[in-house]
Subunit: 354 residues, 2 copies
């Protein structure tokens, strides 16, 4: 099963590249629908199933998608769905659906298409780092090929038509996952989030819409999909991301210079707990790994790397844990397994004491 293979890999949005830091990953998704068909929430089951078939067939013909695999939401068990959510491949909304909806996934996870989520198609490309433009180019290539094979609902006045008016036009949402512990520790994050909201950007938590910020990770994305070209949306977001990245760098520098004890305390505690706890909840794990990551980036923690931290963060999510264990696990069992993984995978790390 493809999900069994996935859990062994680091995930497309989490980098194996040590150089990728504040901007963790970039994602672009396009909402598309088939002309003359009711939107998924309005469609009958047989209509949804027919759409699902049609999209699958089309995907098989797309050169830019190399041998995509179809996963039927009616067939996946809850643990598999959790794994896909934790890897940012499907939304909670899709996970709740059954037959007549699914995911087309390319094995490297860089491209994925949700079928019959809110729209008939949600095309997504995701990559580590901040190169939004090349991510956009990749999804655009898939979209262009699909457009030859499917009859998209398109209005020359409005652009692509979507189930929710907020997506009409380009149907494009570009989002960037940022790791902002410096702004958080400095107490500046709320101001930054308010500022981003004011200029029409959404800021969400690790798991997108409705999720809390966790582990100082924030998804910044455009809200406006109409009245701007795709290129303009991407450029605008990229320039804001560059600015926030600079803010984060400055905040970290100020912390290191002016609040070294606070920084050492946070990093030391994260280090101490990850090395010695026997029970770790999912939320605490992500918080501690976030601080550890900052410690590595500050050169205060050695013997481990950001890619290892990324891997631990992903593999200790509830779905991944259960997939790795090969069975359903209760909360305490999961907390215990998380402690075990942290102690094992991070056992070579050292804290530089100054």
């Amino acid at each position: 099963m493809i999900v069994d293979k996935l859990v062994r890999n680091p995930g497309s949005w989490l980098s194996r590249d040590e150089a990728i830091r504040i901007v963790m990953s970039s994602r672009v998704r396009l909402a598309r629908n088939l002309r003359g068909m009711p939107f998924p929430s309005q469609a009958r089951q047989d209509e949804n199933e027919s759409i699902c078939k049609q999209v699958q067939l089309a995907c098989d013909g797309v050169v830019a998608l190399s041998s995509p695999v179809f996963m039927d939401m009616g067939q996946l068990d809850p643990v598999d769905k959790s794994v896909l959510k934790e890897r940012h491949l499907i939304s909670s909304e899709l996970a709740e659906k059954g037959a007549g909806s699914g995911l087309m996934l390319v094995e490297d996870e860089h491209s994925a298409i949700m079928i019959n989520e809110e729209d008939h198609l949600r095309l997504q490309c995701i990559s580590p780092g901040g190169d939004l433009f090349s991510v956009w180019q990749r999804v655009d290539k898939v979209d262009s090929e699909l457009e030859q094979l499917l009859d998209y609902a398109f209005s020359s006045r409005l652009g692509y038509l979507t189930a929710c008016p907020s997506n009409v036009g380009t149907g494009l949402r570009a989002s960037v996952m940022m790791h902002l512990p410096g702004l958080q520790l400095s107490g500046l994050i709320d101001g930054v989030v308010r500022g981003l909201n004011k200029i029409g950007l959404a800021v969400r938590g690790l798991f997108g819409e409705g999720s809390q910020a966790c582990g100082n990770m924030y998804q910044v994305s455009n809200q406006v999909t109409l009245g701007l070209s795709e290129q303009q949306i991407i450029e605008r977001l990229a320039s804001v991301v560059a600015e926030v990245t600079q803010h984060e760098r400055n905040a970290r520098q100020r912390l290191l210079e002016g609040q070294r004890t606070l920084v050492m305390d946070r990093i030391g505690r994260a280090f101490g707990i990850l090395s010695h706890a026997w029970l770790l909840s999912s939320d605490e794990m992500v918080e501690l790994l976030s601080i550890l990551r900052m410690g590595i980036e500050f050169g205060l923690v050695s013997g481990t790397t950001v890619p290892i931290v990324n891997e631990v963060m992903l593999t200790t999510q509830p779905g991944h844990l259960q997939k790795i264990a090969g069975k359903a696990l209760g909360t305490v069992e999961r907390d215990e397994m998380r402690g075990q993984i942290a102690r094992d995978r991070l056992k070579d790390m050292n804290l530089r004491v100054e």
Copy 2:
């Protein structure tokens, strides 16, 4: 100054003896007053000063008190008063007083007499461990000698007269400091406290009346001072303490057998934070040291000892820290110094991983 010397010593109620565990220390105090003189809260300043003088003079003649030192509450600065409170030598009530009240202290800190606290005299003896009876004998000896030198307010019907009716009779309060992390971790402590209250015993926190339980340390003491002989009060308390000790032992055994992961988690976290934190509040410090102490007693933490834990607990109290630093310290400076002391004094410890 005597206080400068005190802070270098481990404190009379904290043992240097590795064998002393669940019952940390035993204390007996006697409330006494001088016949014909108003109680301290009712007395004029000159009356208080005269009583203070009179008691001092008498103490100098007591063989059982070897060269006691007088400390005038009107002369001590706030840091010195904090040190004495942290060493359980004076109460908060006495610390708030000025000239006309004070402390007679024997240098080994096993005997102390508060003058003009709530009563004219509060004689106290304290020792590590649970031998209440010998502590009682010691304070009784001091009391018997003083009774020859001072005219105690005594009624043949009621016994010793005291400012608060709750102390009339024997004027005796015996209390035992117990370390009960097993009952706390097992969720049994509230039931035990309710049970003790029901049979007329008071249960207080680390710093006596009005203080919260902290670091799983509980002071258990008699409430009734009338209608029982001193011997009976001591025997009754001692037998209850023996029972609670057995409960604690059972709870620890059950935890080790049935909830080993929880135990390892708590001890591991305490170990990890104490070894790696840069900022530690007073409360957190006591909590962590309490768990570390249990870890040592379980044989899960090596390379340090209960007496070292005791010493760190006492010397990282706010007053002690400032006395050691030789200057007033703000909260953050104290938290930082606590982190430093923990990392230094506990640096040789090891966690046994099973």
